[in-house]
Amino acid sequence: MGTDVLLRIVTPERIVYEDRVDMVIARGLEGDLGILFDHKPMVTPLKIGVLKIKKGKKFHPVAISGGGVLEIKTDLITVLADAAELPEEIDVERARAARKKAEDLLARGEDSDVDWARAQAALRRSMARLTTVEEYYKH
């Protein structure tokens, strides 16, 4: 052994995930990252999206629904997320409603008085949550 790495996903309000894992796939600002043990130390901001954890043969999705920063240090991966949820914590109905609302707002066009950035962020958040749930049931 010794090829696993400690992954810790924390948000300002709680610890979301803390365990030894085999691999992490994250959506970095500059592209997706697959992280194994002994990865080069690095830091990168994360996009809103799904983070995948590989443990044994299974993949576990986690919704990084608020962006964040990822730090890799040899055998410790820290995800400082602004918000994150495990699939079982996600309220699918609410996420669907949020996606619908964001889409409606964006459909009004860029000239309207819609807070464009905010609506887009809301859309990305709800999409991240829904994708996470989808992935969860796929495996």
Partner: protein, 310 residues
Amino acid sequence: MRGTREIKTRIKSVQSTQKITRAMEMVAAAKLRRAEERAEAARPYARSIKNSIARILENTIGIDSPLMEARDSTKKCLVVYSSDRGLCGSYNTNILRRAVLEAEKYPKEQVSIVAIGRKARDFFRRREYNIIREFLDIEDRPGIERTRELVTYLLELFNEGEAGEIYLLYNEFVNVMIHHPRCLQLLPVASDAIKIGEEEKAEVVEGERQTKEQQQRNEAAAEELIYQFEPEPEIVLEALLSRLLNSLVLTAFLEAKASELGSRMTAMKTATENAKDMIARLTLEYNKARQGAITQEILEIVNTSEALSK
């Protein structure tokens, strides 16, 4: 001696006050437990982010962020966290006294105040300080949306040169009875905001559950801990620092809230006990007055009957 009726009314009124203080005590106690849990739950993030930043700064040379640089501006901004409501003992007095001490270090026109909670606002308004923004009605579970709003605002102030230094004053929670007023420098981010105590460091290591073998490997790796940044280091560091601020403010809010509730609970407990003593004293007085009245009446009857029998 007062009349029995008056004393009775007084006892009644003290009793109803006691009911209120007791209820407030219990409400505060219940809320306090939850507030403490939340403060506890926020700690891992605060620790992790401090660790990350400390590690990165230690292992990279020549990167810094405008958020860490001192500004020329002589303007100071004090963010003062007080409660919205009173009846919480010396909670507000303590923090406001500390805040005034801090504010008086500088000429009045250089100081601006961001008031959190009604007590702070009213206090500084009376003293004619420049209140640039107020946040009222902080909920019992201060959430991240609130703190983010505040942090965004403070960053704006700092970046536009409206404030050269920003301090946060709040009551730090030690235990239910003890809270310390604390003055924390938020901006520019001071290196002691990042530093963590040895105690906390030890906790982290334990949390990582390292085996000996891993530890050795880590030590070997630690020497060549050169971070790679994606994108530029400055951008990454800024992303981290703004999150650190948010975490600092959230921690402060949660601690201050717990302190407020603890303070209120203690104050109300004392009040309830006072009421109990008062009721006991008044009851004694009432009984004395009642006995006195009876004795008086008997005396009068005896006197009359003796006068009649002569």
